[in-house]
Assembly symmetry: C2
Homo-oligomer: 224 residues x 2
Amino acid sequence: MELTIDWLTQFDGLTRLEPEVRQSLLAKSTVRRIAAGTVIFGPGKPSESLLLLLDGRVRVQKLSESGREIVLYRVEAGQSCIMTTAAMLAYEDSAAEGIAETELQAAAVPLNVFDETVARSPTFRNLIFKEYTKRITELFQVIEDISFLRVDIRLAQSLLALSRGSAEVQATHQRMAAELGTAREVVSRQLGEFQRRGWIRQSRGVIEILDREGIVRLAAVTPE
Amino acid sequence: MELTIDWLTQFDGLTRLEPEVRQSLLAKSTVRRIAAGTVIFGPGKPSESLLLLLDGRVRVQKLSESGREIVLYRVEAGQSCIMTTAAMLAYEDSAAEGIAETELQAAAVPLNVFDETVARSPTFRNLIFKEYTKRITELFQVIEDISFLRVDIRLAQSLLALSRGSAEVQATHQRMAAELGTAREVVSRQLGEFQRRGWIRQSRGVIEILDREGIVRLAAVTPE
DNA sequence: CATTCACGGTGACAACGTCACTGAACGCGG
DNA sequence: CCGCGTTCAGTGACGTTGTCACCGTGAATG
């Protein structure tokens, strides 16, 4: 169950890790499998390790008191889920949660090992700070998109992102609405329009992409 | 001009700093005065030190290509401007900028000293990670507010925040619009409504608060 | 004193959010 | 296989917010 494979090679920033740090990290961390749907961190679920994602995808989202939700960003394989370190610091009020969208394989670095490694290794430090910066930059972009882009454009972008090249997106309108932080009805109407234009075909829980080019064109619009 | 006062006492997280780290930080950092209006960091202005704010206030905002802007958060005295470390990492595309809203007094910690201190001092590490987490948490909140709160409520909140207890807010409608990431016309209409209710009195560039209680009540609304 | 410009007010309309309600598709127990 | 509850999706009406075009005012500048 808990392997000690050399997972460090999967992280761009860690390939040139100092040898003794490398050994220490491998020895003191555990590689874990986590089932799809598991809540990694969130209100009432403080985590006690930093997760370095080897495989799978984590969705970080925020739920408002009114029950609505919005996706903040995703963590992909080869990235670290820095909010798990944040959750360690007990910021309960954030009300953000991380959910395994797929089955995960992740290296769990216990808090004390994390701290020790940050102290010892410039390479590791660099990786961590880069991750933080990257997330913050992403959040900046989310804020800009929400504030200034039309929903049809954001919906098109979201569709392309979620499809990952495939011709089928498995998602309900409710789910898409959460992606954009808007209302389901808005998504229904917009997808209806996309369908009328022949860009997609819809069935219950599935959106099939017929004309990717059309969606790409809309997604690329920068209204001036 | 460059003092070597013991500014470390002004940071909650640094009062119990390890003695030798304390000396080192004081010796290798410089305390600087920065004029109001100065752009601390931003596109094309990479910074080469971490700024620890001793006095004054920094506004961090993002400008879209279309020229509109939105305030992301503020850095107050006693906090560190972590985006200066991010800017060091050359994330040019972020297009966020930090502006001195008032005259600043700040301790500038050069990049190499920052890195060295993170390595040496658990206390300093803790402070830095707490700051990052705090900013991220704030950004989460901004996203939620933008997505789910009505603008009149957000405007009321913004007015209270900017007034800082005073009865007068010096701000144009354009400025308030940037605070909320909305359009000037919207602010004009809402402030007009506030005035009709007797909550404020407006004159060119100034908003005078007449009935703080009324504004507070609106700001506290959590529509269910 | 004349011109320019930042500021703010407004009406019309488009885009988006909310509410209430509808029916269709699915999942499950009997 | 049927009935039933639940999830999902579609729609009309209406309120809120964003956009566009335009105007008047007062401040600053030469």
